[in-house]
Amino acid sequence: MVVTTSWYLALAAVLFSMGAVGLLTRRNPLIMIMCVELMLNAVNLTFVSLGAELGDLGGQLSVFFVLVVAASEVVVGLAVVVAIMRRRQGATVDDLSVLRG
């Protein structure tokens, strides 16, 4: 059995969809950020697979920058969560409707 690019892409699609479902169903902000990480990983897998398919280094270069953006996103997102949780213990994203202007 030969592993083709389609296998990786199908796996990435399943992983992305699972992350999206988690983002829609979970209410804990920390777990929602983790689901975003799942989706980012699915995209990274797609980049690397298509880069390997096309024999191009560009896919891996894109993954490098996605990693940097993901790291900054986690840092700022967790800082926001810390700032909110200090004010109200155990806050879920539904409680954040008080932030509407």
Partner: protein, 209 residues
């Protein structure tokens, strides 16, 4: 051989993702996330992306998940949630429907794209073998993409400053988040709303003349 490695790591990846979805405790979810990240890292190795596999383990599993665990422990939110109740009625069936349709669309788009690849082969830089991967990535990053690398440095600096500003201790007692509806507060005082509108109108008129 490749197929066996792919199938095992795909099972690890999907089991980890499922664990993140249904874990009742954030700590368990973070550990399941590590499992998924390791599985993706193995898939990177399988595709000769050795540098990214190492970075995946070091940055994601080593730094990002540790940051998650740090925040969980710091805030003391590592208690079990009750997942039995739906916060919004009908949320989960709708989310499952959206997820299934998203999966269908992604599968169609991605699998069709492989049958007819549109990109030029090796248009940017040729993909080396696994042993050559890090050198080629470094050369490309610090020659063709050096401006983008500088921009990521600025982005990371901004993220650090933003995190420090957001998470710093505020002096004085913290007021609890208001639970009243914000809209009613604005209706109570109509004069306050008129004042700024008048000044902006007068300002704009003054600028016109």
């Amino acid at each position: 051989m490749d197929a066996a490695v792919f199938l095992i790591s795909a099972a690890i990846v999907l089991a980890g993702a499922g664990g993140v979805l249904v874990a009742r405790s954030p700590v368990h979810a973070a550990l399941f996330l590590v499992q998924t990240l390791f599985g993706v890292s193995v898939l990177f190795v399988l595709q000769d992306a050795t540098f990214l596999a190492a970075i995946q383990v070091i940055v994601y599993a080593g730094a990002v998940v540790i940051l998650f665990l740090f925040v969980i422990m710091l805030l003391g939110v590592d208690r079990f949630e009750d997942l039995g109740v739906e916060p919004i009625v009908g949320q989960r069936p709708v989310a499952a429907l959206i997820g299934a349709s998203l999966l269908g669309m992604l599968l169609i788009a991605l699998l069709v794209s492989v049958d007819e690849p549109t990109g030029a082969h090796g248009a940017n830089a040729a993909l080396g073998d696994a042993a050559d991967n890090t050198r080629r990535l470094g050369e490309a990053l610090f020659t063709d993409y050096v401006f983008a690398v500088e921009l990521t440095a600025i982005l990371l600096t901004i993220a650090v400053i933003g995190a420090v500003v957001l998470a710093r201790k505020v002096r004085g007692p913290l007021a609890p988040l208001p639970v009243v509806v914000v809209a009613s507060a604005t209706i109570e005082d109509p004069e306050a709303g008129d004042g700024p509108t008048d000044t902006t109108d007068g300002h704009a008129a003054g600028e016109d003349t």
